[in-house]
Amino acid sequence: MVDLRVKIGSLALKNPVMPASGTFSEGLARIFSFDHLGAVVTKTITAELRGGNPTPRVAEVGQGMLNSIGIPSKGVANFVEHIMPEYERFSAPLVVSVSAPTAELFGDIVRQLNLPGIAAIEANISCPNIEEDGKAFAMRSKSTAAVVRELRCATPLPLWVKLTPNTGDVAAVACAAEENGADALVVANTVLAMSIDIETFRPRLGSIMGGYSGPAIKPIALRMVYQCAKAVEIPVIGCGGIATAGDAVEFMLAGATAVQVGTATFIKPNTMLEVVEGLSAFCARKGIARVSELTGAVKDRGMHVDKLEALP
């Protein structure tokens, strides 16, 4: 029997597999029980009520998709009253993803979520900081440091910080999050991208640009997990294009302690279960007793990164 347990800081998970925020809801419980998952992660919620983006909100592009869902939200009270109870019957720890337009408001929302039944907070800081120039917090070390510091003061819960792949220096942002009290990093969110319908000349998304996800972004997310895991001591949770157990192994080898499955669930709702089972089978075949041994086990010693590639 392979030991699938992993630890994200103080939080023990029965296995390293969980959904990515926004690609998962109670609806999936119509297909399998969340008891099989390492954790569940909610769609990002905000304190303010938010409507939705214009349609179309999705475009298929190659082996991936663009979305411009944005973060429609019915607020914290609605979440606590209506959404949270849906997860009570499952043993998987509940991670709540939150967002806010200023560091202070980030503090406010997590203070409202210091509740039994919530195992950790995932701060989606890939959203614009409206107090500065509107760039996402996670684009720069400085704004990341500020928001994480605020969050750290505001919650005693384990604090996961989710980074954006759109920054030029993800390792520096990762360090800023660690130094200011993050317990773990989620690497990463969607890649900003675009598609145009050449028949109508119109952007394929109602919001012109949107987030690219799915297998196509896997090598980019994997590279960032590798860079972040080298840069920080706290656990890194890999996310981006994971669709098979082999992908999960690859992210763990690169340095991830756990993985999040996003878009793949849309293509094959059972993906997370298959990843759990496949990780176990892989370790068994390789004679690996604990899945956690995979973390950072990439054999890169003696290898060097080419200095003439465009290294951020």
């Binding site: 909100r57 998709m65 979305n67 098979t244 082999g246 059972n270 496949g278």
Partner: protein
């Protein structure tokens, strides 16, 4: 399946899905193609051998289907398809689709014996009020695929059906036999002879209302016809249902890709997910698309 393992062949995972548990009302199953035959230049009729939950699909519900890659296309997302017919005792689920883009081109390459992944049944189907004696079904294009099983369901409940089938030309009207077979009155209106003109369709609806043949309205497949039916329904207090389409990713209410605008009974605007809150909605709450 369009999901592909790029990596080393990995141990085949055995999913731990207790599909028989009552809490689980949706399943991702592998069905086997029995037939996949063009009905005319554009439309293909696919018959699958399927098991389990799939056989419980009701008129108006749909499946999210994984479309195969071809030499030309690599469809990534699944494609939602209304159930066209379920013959549960024979383990058969059928679809009628129009070859349009990457996904349906892929579907069209399936041969008998091929396997296809089917997620469903999804969404809320049509509902029939036992008090109704006669209903009117108005469809166009591939909307007929969605309405055909509704007509049969009504017939099975002893509800009389008048089907108004609209198309560019007579040759393109499909499923006339499916509608006629269950003893329904069928009116075919076409662009060719201008009988599909809204004015004429409205005249037919009014005639049916007058004749007491319109206890409820049902429509699918045309925005223009939906708006017409909605107006007439409101005017004469006829309850109605419309099956909507919207681009989808998950089909399960998770991604919020498939929202459309609706109006609540108090006239407030509201976004709803077509896959979860629909695809069948109250005609009175539906808005133009």
């Amino acid at each position: 399946m369009s999901t592909v393992a790029y990596e080393t062949d990995l141990e085949k995972a055995v999913p731990v899905v207790p599909a028989s548990s009552p809490a689980f009302d949706v399943a991702d199953i592998e069905a086997t193609v029995l037939a996949n035959t063009p009905v005319n230049d554009d439309y293909v009729h696919m018959i699958l051998d399927a098991r389990g939950l799939a056989l419980s699909a009701k008129a108006g519900q749909f499946f999210n289907i994984a479309c195969p890659a071809t030499t030309r296309d690599l469809p990534y997302l699944r494609r939602p398809m209304s159930v066209y017919r379920v013959v549960a005792p024979e383990d058969r689920v059928e679809f009628l689709y129009k070859v349009t883009g990457a996904g349906t081109r892929g579907l069209a390459t399936l041969r008998p014996g091929d396997r296809v992944s089917l997620l469903g049944p999804l969404g809320n189907g049509f509902s029939l009020d036992p008090a109704w004696k006669n209903i009117v079904v108005l469809g166009r294009g591939v909307g007929l695929a969605t309405l055909a099983p509704l007509a049969e369901m009504a017939a099975a409940s002893g509800i009389g059906v008048t089907a108004i089938l609209s198309a560019r030309s007579r040759a393109l009207v499909m499923s006339v036999d499916r509608f006629a077979n269950c003893g329904e009155r069928v009116e075919v209106v076409t662009d060719d002879d201008t009988s599909s003109d809204p004015v004429n369709v409205e005249r037919i609806l009014l005639r049916l209302i007058e004749a007491g043949k319109a206890d409820a309205f049902f429509t699918c497949g045309s925005n223009r016809l939906m708006l017409l039916m909605k107006r007439v329904a409101a005017q004469f207090g006829v309850p109605g249902q419309v099956a909507m389409e919207q681009q989808m990713a998950c089909g399960l209410g998770m991604c919020f890709c498939c929202v459309r605008n609706f109006e609540t009974p108090d006239g407030e605007p509201e976004q709803r997910r077509v896959c979860l809150e629909g695809p069948v909605f109250k005609l009175s709450e539906a808005l133009s698309w």
